[in-house]
């Protein structure tokens, strides 16, 4: 089990390691820079320093997790993702400040089509129904084999892979993960649709919609696996590693698509980026704009619908104790 957790944490580190490559060439550590800045000594130095910190923290954590005595294994397993994320945030922030002097303001004219033809979703938007079908199929399977589900089954495991929490064969205990998975998928679907209709027309917008639908599949698959685990006895490592089977190709495809030089960067004003991470522009009607840190889109926090979306996420998360046993 430690090896499985190590794999997951190394994957987390690898994603952070690749973070500088996940943005357009004109963006480095959330700072708009000239396209060839990455190849300059200053650009290369910033990327190297960021990666050095990530690699050091991940390798130290992995060694600590593999070599820790049994009594400390759980604490190490819990601390490691926090340490990786913290190191990532601090290293990112440090390089962001270091490059702030090189910041440029990109501007370009914007165009709007003067046609009243309503916007249509791409054909693959229908695929968003798939995760709900997966969850429903899992629910049906459980319903048909209700008698074969153990009276008491494990739902939580420690770093050694030993079960430390159990649930009973009740409606909440058995179907809870499916309901919660459906809630999360519905929220992702709402975000995907809000992203499509609330952002400027571009190729990146189509890529974002595809990415959101893929993320929905990931959630649907994970929660369906969790739900059928008591019945099929799926090994925990399969449930832990299954998301990576979708995440790795998803990140690679999204990175490739977003970095294609098909169109110029959306020239949002620099002064509207709070801490270079949060976008707040009351004079921009868009609900979603291209991110400066990482892959995809982010909310325009000056738009009141962004707060509605965040509140809905908070409600979904807060509902977990009531839905899952």
């Amino acid at each position: 089990m430690r090896l499985v957790l190590c794999t997951v944490y190394i994957f987390m580190g690898a994603v952070l390691f690749a973070l500088p490559n996940m943005t357009r060439r004109e963006i480095l550590f959330a700072i708009p820079v000239p396209p060839d800045f990455r190849e300059s000594p200053a650009g290369r130095h910033a990327i190297r320093m960021f990666r050095l910190v990530i690699a050091a923290v991940v390798l130290t954590g992995a060694c600590a997790l593999l070599l820790a005595p049994a009594g400390l294994a759980n604490a190490t397993a819990g601390a490691m993702p926090i340490a990786i994320v913290l190191a990532g945030v601090l290293a990112f922030w440090r390089q962001n400040r270091a490059l702030a002097a090189a910041a440029q303001q990109y501007t370009r004219p914007r165009e709007a089509e003067m046609t009243s033809v309503p916007e249509r979703l791409p054909w693959y938007a229908w695929l968003a129904a798939g995760p709900f079908a997966i969850l429903a199929a899992a629910g049906t399977w459980l319903y048909l084999h209700w008698d074969r589900i153990p009276e008491r089954f494990p739902v939580h495991f420690d770093a050694a892979g030993q079960a430390n929490r159990w649930a009973a064969r009740t409606t909440k205990g058995v179907y809870g993960p499916l309901f919660f998975g459906a809630e999360l998928c519905a929220w992702f679907l709402v975000m995907a649709l809000a992203g499509w209709f609330g952002s400027r027309r571009s190729r990146s917008r189509s890529v974002m919609l595809g990415g959101m639908i893929a993320a929905e599949y990931l959630l649907g698959l994970v929660f369906a696996l969790i739900a059928v685990q008591p019945l099929l006895g799926i090994p925990v490592w399969v449930i832990v590693l299954a998301p990576m089977a979708i995440l790795i190709p998803l990140i690679i495809v999204l990175t490739n698509k977003m970095s294609e030089p098909w169109e110029a960067m959306d020239p949002t004003p620099n002064e509207c980026w709070k801490g270079d991470i949060l976008y707040y522009n009351p004079n921009d009607a868009a609900l979603f704009v291209e991110k400066r840190a990482g892959l995809g889109y982010t909310l325009n926090f000056a738009n009141r619908w962004s707060w509605v979306l965040l509140l809905s996420l908070a409600l979904v998360i807060a509902s977990a104790p009531f839905v899952i046993a």
Binding site: E111, M114, V117, R200, T268, N283, A286
Partner: protein, 185 residues
């Protein structure tokens, strides 16, 4: 402000004007291509088709760096489309929300532009129906007053362009070319 639609149509209309025989030959050649090339070719054709469809619909453009207020840029761009007949009476303009999102401006900016054009008699704004282009009769102005106004506006524009560093020759060439277009219409 206005995107030259005609030039884009010229670029993308090439494959559509080919003779049928050449088309057949091209499809035979396509069949011999490896799968990767076919995929990229399909992508290219889809891209060209999208460009063609998009080129058919009139567009407005604003430049946030120009220093000209966004409302004025939207009004001016739309007026060009209306005067040139690219937006004909009966056409419905897109919603304020959609235009505002595309141009990266506030809803009120676009709403104000629509209101100004409605006040000029170009649009009919009805709640729930959006902005509809209506037939407009140009107001009667005496020749003397019109010429004075025209001269003053052109002088202002030329002065502004010269202040921006555009050469006198370029301005004169553009004005001559525009005069030809105006005479033709």
């Amino acid at each position: 402000m206005l995107v030259p639609n005609s030039s884009r149509r010229r670029i993308v209309s090439g494959p559509h004007t080919r003779a049928p025989r050449r088309k057949r030959k091209a499809s035979r050649e396509r069949a011999d291509l490896p799968a990767v090339c076919k995929f990229h070719l399909t992508k290219c054709i889809l891209y060209m088709y999208t460009r063609r469809v998009m080129a058919q619909s009139p567009r407005i453009r604003i430049d946030p760096a120009s220093g000209i207020p966004a409302v004025r840029q939207i009004v001016d761009s739309l007026r060009v489309l209306l005067v040139e007949g690219q937006l004909v009476p009966g056409a419905t303009l897109p919603s304020v929300r959609r235009v505002a999102v595309e141009l990266g401006v506030h809803f009120n900016t676009v709403a104000e532009a629509y209101r100004q054009l409605a006040a000029e008699g170009w649009l009919n704004l009805k709640h729930g129906r959006g902005a509809v282009v209506v037939p407009r009769v140009a107001p009667a102005v005496t020749n003397g007053a019109r010429n004075d106004d025209l001269r003053n506006r052109l002088r202002g524009l030329v002065a502004q362009l010269r202040a921006e560093g555009i050469s006198v020759d370029s301005i004169a060439d553009e004005l001559r070319a525009m005069a030809k277009v105006v005479k033709r219409s």
